[in-house]
Symmetry: C2
Subunit: 163 residues, 2 copies
């Protein structure tokens, strides 16, 4: 492996991706087995390119939003299905739209869940304030006010989450 390390020709070993995305090699091989990834090979060894890396990102986010690997595979297939006929495209289009509807519904669920939990937080904070104000996690009085209308959406890098 000694010939070039220019700009966008960067490639990744399995371990690099594993570290970056906090997954095990086993998982990546599993995804490959299931047809979600198809890295090049250097002899026996897998060589992941920027494309594979991008797909992996999609896979992981797909998982986070609740898609099964099979569903993710479908979506990925639809994406790089250069053609396959107009009929296929129409079917893909329909499926995409269905996914979008489902995701929007899920977003509603999440917003609802957030509200519930925030109510719980309010309750607990009030009770704690009565009984043991010293245990309150610092300034929150008007901080909470702000967040309730301004919300907080920014970056986290994109690391792991649930499970």
């Amino acid at each position: 492996m000694a010939h070039d390390l220019r700009r966008p020709e960067r490639t990744f070993t399995i371990r690099q991706l594993c570290v970056e995305f906090k997954v095990t090699p086993r998982a990546l091989r599993f995804y490959e087995d299931k047809g979600l990834l198809a890295p090049a090979r250097d002899g026996m060894n897998r060589v992941y390119g920027h494309r594979d890396r991008a797909r992996l990102q999609l896979i992981l986010r797909g998982k986070r939003v609740g898609f099964s690997l099979a569903e993710i595979r479908e979506i990925l297939d639809l994406y790089d299905e250069k053609d396959g006929g107009a009929a296929q495209m129409a079917k893909s289009l329909k499926k995409f739209k269905e996914r979008i509807v489902a995701l929007k519904a899920q977003r509603e669920d999440i917003d609802g869940a957030i509200k519930n939990l925030e109510d719980g937080v309010q309750r607990l904070q009030r009770q704690l304030a009565d009984i043991r104000p010293d245990l309150l996690p610092k300034a929150d009085a008007y901080d909470t006010m702000l967040r309730s209308r301004l919300d907080g959406a920014h970056e986290t890098g994109e690391p792991a989450r649930a499970k």
Copy 2:
């Protein structure tokens, strides 16, 4: 026992809840087994009250937003933990806040996924318009424009979804 069947004392059989929420009896018993539900008994038979029903709603939404049954159980426990001491409450408070953060992150994921899919839809629609405009799922040209800024959030009843 026979003494009162006034207003909010409505109870439900297992099947009623199953029909209403589109789950199987097996699932409800399973949730009970896992400590998420604890309906009263009339002899052998389970009798669900409004409280159980509310919990079930939370369970199902919890599932939809990606919580495991164990996590849901934890949350539920936190909710009806009448007390347990101030220290416990502080811990609960922390956990609630963590959940909220996680859910907001997940909403970001979902918004991202939606955007991706909408891009895919655009792509497909343009290509289809070129090749086979007749296969386009009806009027969409300015309909899409509208939805892209106005979004669509209303009711669906609350029925089943994923998997």
